[in-house]
């Protein structure tokens, strides 16, 4: 091997990113910086949007081998954890460990508000089909309205892996915009007197019910919608770690370092899928618009169903807690509290809104399960997953 000075200089120059960068990558680098800006200075879901943005940055530096599709690359390795549906359930294990289902158990009818907020998911499905997406893609887009990052990523990786990046970014972006998106809709759909309704004190719940609840939810929901078991089962296992009182070590690890490690890997992998080819498309803009629609419709669905419950109960339910049914825990519940307190500062809706709020998490998972029942093959992973695994193994053997 011989290198002349000029030869070596040329080789180095050729191996720089400058020689290979394309306009699309420049745009994506700017997108990455915008995401970092929103995460750091606007505090938009920074735990996820910061590593997503940085993953996008690294993936779009040419020849850096950091795209999710670069075999043998670091972020491709993390991406396998999304492809094979390992990371989202582990996140949900931590979410379950962090969640208190007490307010939901004290007022179980608020589960219906968590169901009503899924209306946003289904109307967006129709909208997406109207905009030209096929049914699988439309389902994955609709779930943005569920306001649950891991659920969105889980479903997208099964039904429309090519749309994973925009769906994940839209989901997390809008989740952080809940305090801006929801209040006008909530005020527009409710009357002054409705917003002033004070709700009765929640009854306390026995420890046994809190322990049995996650086990029962797993059995009931996963029997009815088996495909959602990895997600819902792990959520409930995390909650059982929390409520059982006998697994404090596992509870602590699940809700701190395990979820943190998995979050880093998941977010970097999502960011690494934000390549120019997959992101700079008309579809992305459509998805962003549809995502906003989904959020608005979900909010409206929750509030309107809240009005219905208000009527049926003779005014015992404040419709403002309906908007919390979108999940986005605990931000949506805080929004309910805030809008209610604007009307009457002695009205404390927070705890009441926590019921529909956590119901929204279950609701979205169930909604995802329905899609998987209809469009996924429950006995084997979807064709995209097959192809992905096959491609990995092929590329490993060929090299």
């Amino acid at each position: 091997m011989e290198l002349t000075f000029s030869g070596a200089a040329i080789q180095i120059l050729e191996s720089t990113g400058f020689s290979a960068i394309v306009p699309g990558q420049v745009v994506m680098l700017i997108v990455a910086c915008v995401l970092l800006y929103l995460a750091i200075w606007k505090k938009f879901e920074p735990l996820l949007l910061l590593p997503i943005g940085f993953g996008c940055l690294m993936a779009n530096l040419p020849m850096s081998m950091m795209m999710s599709t670069d075999d043998g690359g670091l972020l491709n390795f993390f991406y396998q954890g999304i492809k094979h549906e390992i990371l989202p359930p582990l996140i949900f294990l931590g979410v379950g460990a962090l969640t208190d289902f007490g307010p939901l158990l004290a007022n179980p009818t608020t589960l219906l508000l968590g169901a009503a907020a899924q209306i946003g998911v289904y109307t967006t499905l129709i909208g997406a089909v109207l905009l030209g997406f096929d049914l699988k893609e439309a389902s994955a887009i609709g779930i943005i309205g569920g306001a649950d990052g891991p659920t969105s990523i889980f479903l997208a990786s099964k039904l429309a892996p090519h749309l994973l990046a925009p769906i994940a970014v839209a989901a997390y972006s809008y989740m952080s915009l809940v305090p801006l998106i929801q209040p006008p809709i909530m005020r527009w759909l409710t009357t002054h007197s409705e917003r002033k309704i004070k709700m009765a004190q929640l009854k306390p719940i026995s420890k046994k019910v809190k322990i049995i609840f996650p086990i029962l939810v797993t059995i009931i929901c996963c029997l009815m919608l088996p495909a959602v078991t990895p997600l819902l089962g792990m959520l409930m296992l995390g909650n059982l770690f929390r409520e059982s009182g006998v697994t404090a070590r596992l509870h602590e690890t699940s809700e701190t370092h395990l979820i943190n490690i998995v979050t880093i890997f998941l977010a970097l992998a999502v960011g690494s899928s934000m390549t120019a080819e997959s992101f700079l498309k008309l579809e992305t803009i459509k998805i962003i618009i549809l995502g906003l629609l989904a959020f608005c419709m979900a909010t409206a669905g929750g509030v309107l169903f809240g009005k219905l419950m208000c009527k049926l109960t003779g005014g015992k339910v404040n419709p403002l807690i309906g908007s919390a049914g979108v999940s986005a825990v605990p931000m949506a519940a805080r929004v309910s509290q805030k809008v209610g307190a604007e009307e009457d500062h002695t009205n404390f809706l927070l705890m009441h809104a926590m019921g529909p709020n956590v119901a929204g998490v279950i609701g979205s998972a169930v909604a995802a399960g329905v899609f998987l029942s209809l469009f996924g093959d429950p006995t084997v992973p979807g064709p995209e997953a097959h192809a992905a695994i096959e491609a990995v193994v092929q590329s490993m053997v060929q090299r």
Binding site: A115, L125, S206
Partner: protein, 88 residues
Amino acid sequence: MNDDIITSFTVSGIAISVIFLVLTILIFTIKILVRLLPYEEPPPKPARKAQPTAPSDMDEDIAVITSVMASHLSQTPGNFQVVNIQSR
């Protein structure tokens, strides 16, 4: 394409039905569960002196403390005695 739109309405209808069905079943399950296992006011905490920790537990605690102290002081456990410990 047109088919897809019709299907999307079908799917939406089905899905909303299923989701309300599933969550309604959950609601009734919870209601039954809460009825069966109602919350019970925890008994007022008794004064410390009146009801010490179970004797066997305390004995074991004393055993541990004595052993460790003996080991630490390089003495046999017979040379001293832990008379009383109180949990905080």
